[in-house]
């Protein structure tokens, strides 16, 4: 056991900086992908609330498609498939777009759950005392929705962060791919992949705990 652990110490100065650099790439594609998902997801959620059957249908179809197809298949389709019809992405933008579009479907569901928890009467009441529609949305509805969706939003981000590991399979030089490079260089795959796992854990675990705390609090607030 001691021998096993001492390997980590022995190679810390060689693996540490390279995996830290790769972690920055993982964090970057996760954050940018999540930003895209948050925006597209909100549009999808609002589309499903409109009176236009066409908009509702498009949004619904989008959610069904992306909920039914693996993220990996979407990444391959964007990175390897689209060049076949003349659309070429670099690896990193392809990963961001793929993760963003895939998780937008999930974010749409999160927003919808939040929006449906606010009684319609609040809209009517706020309008009748003279609030403008935009004011109702931003001053009254969204602050309440934010409180409800905070926990599931974080949970979705953690899921996206974990799926950002799939970007290694379309040659993005993030944690897992850097881990593979190190594994072939040093022939110590067990140690290296454990280290890679720990890097994800360091980011994901505090977020998961925060989500748990927030969801407990949101539940108490509604009682």
């Amino acid at each position: 056991m001691f021998e096993f652990l001492s390997v980590f110490v022995q190679y810390a100065d060689q693996w540490g900086p390279r995996l830290a650099e790769a972690a920055v790439v993982s964090a970057r594609i996760s954050l940018l992908g999540f930003a895209l998902a948050a925006v597209v997801g909100l549009v999808l959620a609002l589309m499903q609330d409109t009176s236009s059957a066409l908009l509702r249908g498009v949004a619904k179809g989008y959610v069904i498609f992306f909920r039914g197809v693996p993220v990996l298949a979407i990444l391959f389709l964007i990175y390897f498939g689209l060049p076949g019809i003349g659309v070429v992405f670099d690896a990193e933008p392809a990963a961001i777009v793929g993760l963003g579009l895939a998780f937008a479907a999930q974010m749409a569901e999160v927003y919808r759950a939040g929006l449906s928890a606010i009684p319609k009467g609040q809209w009517e009441a706020a309008r009748s005392v003279g609030f403008l529609p935009g004011q109702v949305l931003f001053l009254i509805i969204l602050p309440q929705v934010a409180r409800i969706v905070a926990a599931p939003v974080i949970v979705t981000f953690v899921a996206l962060l974990k799926d950002s590991s799939l970007a290694s399979l379309i040659t993005v030089n993030e944690l897992v791919l850097e881990g593979r490079a190190l594994a072939t260089e040093y022939f110590l795959p067990l140690h290296i992949y454990i280290w890679v796992g720990v890097m994800y854990f360091i980011i994901a675990f505090p977020l998961s705990m925060l989500a748990k705390l927030l969801s407990r609090r949101a539940r108490l607030g509604t009682r």
């Binding site: 979407i74 399979l169 881990g179 140690h191 454990i194």
Partner: protein, 218 residues
């Protein structure tokens, strides 16, 4: 078009049988092991054991499945425990899944009122009887819709086992691409095959949610 029906579809469908096998086998491991973990975590009352289960669940849930699979497949082989790719895929996804289902079952148990076990104990049932006959059947009903959602997620997640050379859909897709270069056609066919499998499952999950109540936040 001929090429699609003569080469691409048969290849992808061969992969689909492995996808289904891996999904069902790891679902079986996850659903059983997760239930045992949840039972121990909810009812054992042993602090050390509870801590170990929490650590197990958080470790598996906060690290990508791909990372776990590499540890199992490449990592263990390097210290002499070689596992072939399909068993590695099933064990890896099954263990990760057991952490997910453990949380699902636990929220099922916590949805039940405390009065139930008190009442059952008061009429003379043993604690084991209370757990098996009163609490578990109800917790299982509450857990069904999120379990269905998990199964849907698992079906899609099996695509990552292509990275450890398990010959499922994405693996066949990649190897056909290297020999034919029909990237757009092959990858969109692969996406559609996943969709063909997940749509009925998603429909079933929606029905479960209607029947047994909405999703809990796991």
């Amino acid at each position: 078009m001929d090429f699609l029906t003569s080469t691409i579809l048969p290849g992808l469908l061969t992969g689909a049988t492995v996808t289904i096998t891996v999904t069902l086998a790891s679902l079986a491991i996850a659903a059983t092991l997760g239930f045992l973990l949840a039972l121990v975590r909810e009812f054992s009352g042993l602090r050390l054991l509870n801590f170990a289960i929490d650590a197990y669940v958080e470790y598996l849930r906060n690290i990508p499945a791909l990372s776990h699979l590499f540890i199992l497949y490449f990592g263990l082989a390097s210290i002499g425990f070689a596992i072939t790719s399909i068993p590695a895929a099933i064990i890896g996804l099954g263990l990760v899944g057991s952490a997910v289902t453990c949380d699902i079952y636990r929220s099922g148990f916590s949805a039940l009122g405390k009065g139930q076990s008190e009442a059952a104990l008061a009429v003379g049932m043993t604690p084991m009887q209370v757990i098996w006959l009163i609490l578990s059947p109800q917790a299982f009903r509450v857990a069904l819709p999120p379990l269905g959602n998990y199964a849907l997620q698992l079906l899609k997640d099996t695509s990552v086992v292509s990275a450890i050379a398990a010959p499922e859909i994405m693996f066949y897709a990649r190897s056909m691409v290297t020999s034919t270069f029909q990237t757009t056609l092959i990858y969109s066919s692969a996406a559609l095959i996943y969709l063909a499998m997940s749509l009925p499952l998603a429909w079933g999950v929606t029905r479960l949610e209607k029947r047994f109540g909405g999703a809990t936040d796991v």
